[in-house]
Amino acid sequence: MKITKSLRWAATASMVAASALSTGLAVAGPYDDYAGTTLVVNFPAHPHYDAVRKILPEFTKETGIEVEVDQLPYLKMRERQTLELGQDEGDYDLVAYVVFSKADYVYADQLENLARYFMNPKLSDPSYDADDLIDGYVYNIGFAGGNKGYLQGKTGSLFGIPYGSETSVLGYRKDIFEKHDLKVPETYDELLELACKIPELEPGMGGLSSRAASGHHAAHAFLLHLAPLGGRVFDDSWNPTVNNAAGVQAANALKTIVDCGPEGAASFGFGEALGSFLSGDTAMFLDTTVVAGQIDDPSKSKVVGKVGWAMHPMGTRRGSQTGGFGIGIPKNAENKDAAFLLMQWLTSKKGDKLVALAGGNPSRFSTHQDADVNAKFPHMKIFGEALEHADPDWRPIIPVWGKINADLGTTLSKVLTEDLDIQEALDGVASRAKVIMDEAGYYTWSQ
């Protein structure tokens, strides 16, 4: 029996030693090869990415990979990226791209196709759960080559992951609505009626504050109303339909909103529109979900705790915007594998929750339902519901869109400030857009 005991002792000891060894070997993690690398990333100056910067130290702690951030205002970021991505060897390992840059970059073959990273067992995390990523966002921001070239479809592939994406939602002052016994608008008719009724009920207060400044801002605001009212910028053969009845209705809606809006509404960029709502000068705000964090921040907002949230009102259908940013790996990057690891970590369940808690925009359905997140940000639940109606096609993502968008925005601004006739203005936009599309070859198959 003595022999058996010592044998057993030896066996146990060696088993313990062996398991200790193997655990040690198994702990050699996915990040080991990359610890000590420094990644250079390009982010926009945007509240979501401010939140990302707060959680980056966590990433470095876990993986040993340093991250150096170059944060620029997003138009400047685009210009910088266009330059950098066109070089033979680029400075950035990871870029956050504006959604409509997806078309430019993929078309110019400047972004890495993510397929082979997800296929690489050393890099791809099996617990990633990509189905949890919000569909509308993935197809609008990350997917390319599908239907119409930029939507979901069997011919497409993933080039980026949505990060810092936003949809549109209606924020309203609960106190004002209670005071005048107003109903939260659910349709566009109700919304427009309220927008002009509120300034009469509360003198000095605007109904709805919206972006309206010339260029991108006015175009964005217009498109917000176009999709729910049943319109589309192009039909299936790429003919501009922005000047049809729905388009005119949307432009009229915008004009009504701006006319009944707060002081100076016609020149509001996004910052001013938000500022007007935050300082209590307007009763409603219809724009991106990004603002939620700031509304509850007492150092920036005077309406803390007074704001309720509802879904983007319905016209003939529900369709809130999908927009924001996605992250992708440039083809000319130096540390692509490490960049992929960063991308995966940031958009993993854990990373998404961290960024949501820090005030950013989650990209996953689960984060919106998460108890901790909802405890800190009760509006997340409604946002989650709104996301189910997020419309990936509210805005075409084609390379020539930038020009058409700029023209649309400048024309609409003239409608708002110089009282240009709406049908005439939209007809002008449609005809100019047609010329641009023709030059770009969109009518090659319909001749």
Binding site: P73, L83, E89, G90, D91, F270, G271, Q294, S299, K300
Partner: protein, 311 residues
């Protein structure tokens, strides 16, 4: 200026006070606001009754302050680095422009040579070119053509020593920006210095020449000391332009060579207009020019009037 002063109508003094307020007011406003919290600025509390805070300056200078700043989660404004970039670029541009411009001005004034009038006239012509016009070609050239391939011996040496990727192009380097600033400022500096050199009496130079001095010695020992006021004026103007310039710098700089004006414009993001920090950074940018103005106003005025007013 004579010591006799005349008694003036009180209304006159009122006008003067108003003018001074108008001239200096906005700057004082910026100064005062840079010490207020955003909340105070937005609510428009009248300027004098508030608790001054240096929070805005702390946020701006967060990368050079030795202590941790509690109200910031992360340091986004790299003002210290930008300040150093601005300083390097402005100082080197000024020094180079002065030296080169001075020599050229001297040559144009003193020597009769072929093509002198064309050169003189063309410096005036070049002055009319707006920086925006230069933007297009400079953007293209500095990025694509004025490059040393990284495969060449010089290129590969630089890449090994200093890191970085891709071909060695002028864009994104301090030298690239300095080059364009020097080129932009040369016409004006030459023009100013010409009118000063013209006033140096030839006899002095001829005396020195007869004593056996070569042309370089005449230039450095005789002419230069006499045009010091002109040099000062030219230096101030060149520094001011190099320090304040935004357009070309923003086209030609990358994340390591950002200058202060670029930082300020980048900071005016549409999402979070932090007025306090913006005012603080504006104030920091304005300090060197303000110092120059207060201490060297006479030189500045001399520089401005030189050439325009034929004395």
């Amino acid at each position: 200026m004579s010591a006799i002063t005349e008694k003036q109508h009180p209304g006159f003094y009122a006008i003067i006070v108003m003018l001074v307020l108008m001239a200096v007011g906005p700057i004082v406003l910026m100064f005062v606001n840079s010490f207020k919290l955003d909340v105070d600025i937005i609510s428009g509390t009248s300027g004098l009754f508030f608790l001054p805070t240096i929070q805005n300056y702390e946020t701006a200078l967060c990368d050079v302050l030795p202590y941790e700043i509690e109200h910031l989660d992360f340091c986004s404004l790299k003002f210290g680095g930008a300040f150093i970039n601005s300083l390097i670029i402005a100082l080197v541009s000024t020094a180079l422009t002065l030296v080169i411009g001075c020599m050229a001005a001297y040559a144009l004034v003193r020597f009769k040579f072929m093509g002198r009038d064309t050169v003189s006239g063309s410096t005036l012509m070049v002055r009319m070119v707006p920086p925006a016009v230069l933007l297009v070609p400079v953007f293209g050239l500095w990025n694509n053509e004025f490059c040393i391939s990284k495969a060449s011996w010089f290129g590969s040496w630089v890449r090994e020593e200093f890191g970085g990727r891709g071909d060695l192009c002028l864009a994104g380097t301090h030298s690239g920006i300095i080059l364009i600033y020097v080129a932009m400022n040369l016409p004006f500096v030459i023009w100013i210095l010409q009118s000063f050199i013209v006033q140096v009496p030839r006899q002095l130079e001829e005396a020195a020449r007869m004593d056996g001095a070569g042309p370089f010695q005449v230039f450095f020992k005789v002419v230069l000391p006499l045009i010091k006021p002109g040099l000062a004026a030219a230096a101030i103007f060149t520094f001011r332009i190099a320090w304040n310039e935004y357009l070309l710098a923003s086209a030609l700089s990358d994340r390591d060579t950002k200058t202060v004006p670029i930082l300020i414009v980048n900071n005016m993001s549409e999402f979070n207009v932090e007025w306090g920090v913006i005012m603080a950074t504006g104030m920091l940018l304005a300090i060197p020019p303000i110092i120059f103005t207060l201490f060297a106003s006479r030189q500045i005025i001399t520089g401005m009037t030189a050439g325009a007013v034929k004395g």
